[in-house]
Subunit: 488 residues, 2 copies
């Protein structure tokens, strides 16, 4: 593996693509806009899945699986929902191929046309609420707290590996509740889980907020979100949690008998994070030498490299260290490939973002020490061989913390107030980042600002201070600042 990737300062977008490919994360496939998630990228997604799944289960959710296909008529039942998704749907129209009698090869069999077209799910509210109709009769059947891990398809025009692909993997939670308050609480509980996951596991700080009407999920009464800031100053929507009100219950006629023996419409939420998180992880921490991974999500946390090559003594030391590390719950590999030189291996492990690297050479062993390098700062230290495992466990914690600290500092530096359109534009065209500004609360103003600056309101932060001000476009009164940014 050659080290050469484009630097961030040269071409950020090319840097991202280079890392994704050279670190063995993903690649485009023969199908327009669809990616192949390669083993290293998939291993990171698996680590994310395991942790999120644990957090969902710890809060009472269970997994299930609903069909890939949605009858076309279902999509029409919720008016805003269909407007949001109809224009980017993969449509199944036939169920058989045949050999062309005219010799043109394999063609679609015209006799196998479906009576009703099927849509490959872009999201599953409709098929799930059509099912919930059968599952929910009484308040005793509520709440229903269900999640599914699935693939979805949205026919996007412009795609980027992990960040926006035609097919992507995600989890989608769909819950049903007896009261409005319970559904609102669930929406916020999940937002908190997403934020905790992003910060504690991805080491990616996020702003919790609520979307404006323009940016809301099609069919939601409110969309809560976590927003992160990437190293090029653009924002990334990293997860959303929707309060759906009774919209889908109305569309699919899902009612329940309440404790007072009256029929009521059911309250709903839905929420999801996707393989887009892998893109966010890359863009939050990585550098010009390749991927940088937080230890909690690194498939391999430590790699041991013999210097310059394996020998019985070095192998023994490596085996002993691996045994100690594994007993402490650390994932570790010994790279004993004799066909590659240490320098080549170092570059390779740096490219793949292995958090800590241990070099074992004969002279070090004689001195009773090992050389330990950390990926995040590139610092090296000689460490007594006997305490090495404990040292590494502490180092991994320190790397995890340092990455979050670093990302938070970057975000703080790159969050600025703007009190006029001029200031907004000058920040966006200059350093970029989050811009905190007053807004009059109307969709018209938001759209005008978007047209003029290509920035959108990423969210109305939940913890924003209530301060009076004037909208930067219209000068109308505003009671708090909202967060603008150009976004992925």
């Amino acid at each position: 593996m050659a080290k050469a990737i484009t630097s961030r300062s040269e071409d950020y977008s090319q840097w991202y693509n280079d890392i994704v490919r050279k670190a063995g994360m993903a690649d485009y496939s023969a199908v327009r806009g669809c990616m192949v998630i390669k083993p290293h990228g998939f291993a990171i997604w698996e680590k994310m899945q395991q942790q999120l799944d644990r957090m969902f289960k710890d809060t009472g959710h269970v997994n299930a699986y609903f069909p890939l296909f949605i009858p076309k008529s279902f999509l029409s039942k919720e008016a805003e929902h269909v407007d949001g998704f109809a224009k980017e749907c993969a449509v199944v129209t036939h169920h058989r191929l045949m050999n062309d009698p005219g010799g043109a090869g394999l063609i679609v069999d015209p006799d196998a046309k479906l009576e009703e077209e099927l849509i490959v799910r872009p999201t599953s509210e409709t098929i799930i609420w059509n099912t919930y109709k059968d599952w929910i009769q009484s308040y005793r059947d509520l709440p229903l707290l269900i999640n599914q891990w699935a693939n979805v398809v949205r026919w996007e025009l412009r795609t980027r590996l992990f960040l926006r692909t035609t097919e992507f993997l995600w989890q989608e939670g769909h819950t049903a509740h007896a009261t409005r308050q319970e559904a609102v609480d669930e929406t916020k509980l999940i937002l908190d889980i997403y934020a905790a996951f992003a910060e504690e596991y991805m080491a990616m700080p996020v702003i919790k907020g609520v979307k404006t009407a323009n940016e809301r999920f099609a069919g939601a009464d409110d969309t809560y979100c976590i927003e992160a800031l990437m190293q090029d100053g653009k924002a990334l929507q990293a997860g959303t949690s929707h309060f759906l009100g009774q919209n889908f219950a109305k569309a699919f006629d899902v009612t329940f008998l309440n404790k007072e023996n009256q029929q009521e419409l059911v309250w709903a939420t839905s929420w999801g994070v996707s393989t887009r998180l892998v893109g966010g992880l890359i863009m939050t921490h990585s550098d010009d030498d390749g991927l940088v991974l937080p230890p909690k999500l690194a498939p391999t946390q430590v790699v041991i490299v013999p210097i310059p090559k394996p020998s019985p003594e070095i192998n023994d030391a490596a085996e002993a260290l691996m045994k100690n590390l594994r007993a402490l719950g650390v994932s570790v590999k010994y790279d004993h490939d004799e066909t590659k030189r240490p320098g080549f291996k170092f570059a390779e492990h740096e490219m793949q973002g292995v958090p800590a690297r241990v070099g074992i050479g004969m002279r070090d062993l004689e001195n009773g020490q090992l050389e330990i390098a950390r990926r995040d700062t590139k610092e090296k230290a000689f460490v007594p061989k006997d305490g090495a495992a404990d040292y590494i466990v502490n180092l991994l914690d320190e790397i995890q913390e340092n990455l979050l600290r670093r990302a938070k500092a970057y975000r703080t530096e790159n969050t600025r107030n703007a009190d006029s359109m001029e200031e907004l534009v000058s920040i966006l065209d200059g350093p970029g980042g989050f811009v905190s500004a007053h807004w009059d609360g109307t969709s018209e103003t938001e759209l005008t600002i978007k047209e003029q600056t290509k920035a959108t309101i990423r969210c109305i932060p939940l913890d924003a201070e209530q301060v009076q001000g004037k909208c930067i476009l219209t000068g109308k009164p505003s009671s708090q600042r909202v967060l603008f940014a150009r976004a992925y």
Copy 2:
């Protein structure tokens, strides 16, 4: 949950459907032939996935993810493969819906027709080998040992929950090797993993064998399989492992530079098990009271029921027992719902197949004992409270073993030799089961027997004794018996 399900003797097929639905395993969806996997069914599939995934990883495999869609032209590249799958494909022809200008509602936008139709993957050999072409250049890139967990679609005419559905979940392994022998070894290694999983975890005994040419995977040189026997005397193909020779390497032009610096075609295997295993699990062990689950795959292994309802003393005893069980790695729930009577709960837990049930009543507590019932035999025992956790751990092991022993005994009883067509028919029309008989090795004979009896050759068992005999149809010489059965 009412207990009433159809008995096996009355209507086996209805019994199966009743269990699947009443135990909360799955249900049909609004989409023809597609199922909704409900939380209890999905939890069992998750347990299966976790264990299989561990076994694959322990043998050096890694996970990745390839696109859902396959360009139509890819399917045509391997002649036998296309014959096998073209007739049951979901075909995506368009990528957008629109509102009908004539007012007919949501229609397919004729301007959004795809240049080349996309097939929803029925299996992924073609898209994967098209990708492997880019990944494999030299012998250093081999072997490639990749698995993916995914959904696939085959447009089946007749469907049954879990056993045969239009969409199903599975894992598909796709490996690439430098030599024929390595690929054959991999095919057999996976067959052994599947058999070990079926016996040790599902408690479902299987026969390992190889398929005849008629029953081979479309595109394989050899298909190995594990075959199980269900309680109605029908066979179930529970997993297959294919030696693909160089067929897909030829079709997609995948070559590598060998150690002698020569270009060679790559050798391939593919292998899979699916949600069909859940159907096999149900039909192997369950009874007229509902599901019976082997403890190693039961989402909840033990349920504690207060008799007749919770009290501070009973709650304390339940909490203490749960703590002890969890420390021993046992999954346990306390069913303290006060709105249901114990008898109702017993029926419910039996329906869901919880392997062991603990009843805690005041009088039992005074006597220092608990009542423990096992689901497989329905036996109950009073057990001293203090040793209860250890007793239960042993009981779970004993249940796991008993289920396998019972299923093996059933299979032994229902495996018979036939030395003539009359004997074959009389067994098939009588008790059913596996029938071991001589066959002349030709496809013609196999097809004739299938037409006359509806039985197929399930496999040529790998451990079959070499004994001379005469084909039951043609009287021609045969060197070993093969296994006939009617099958799912």
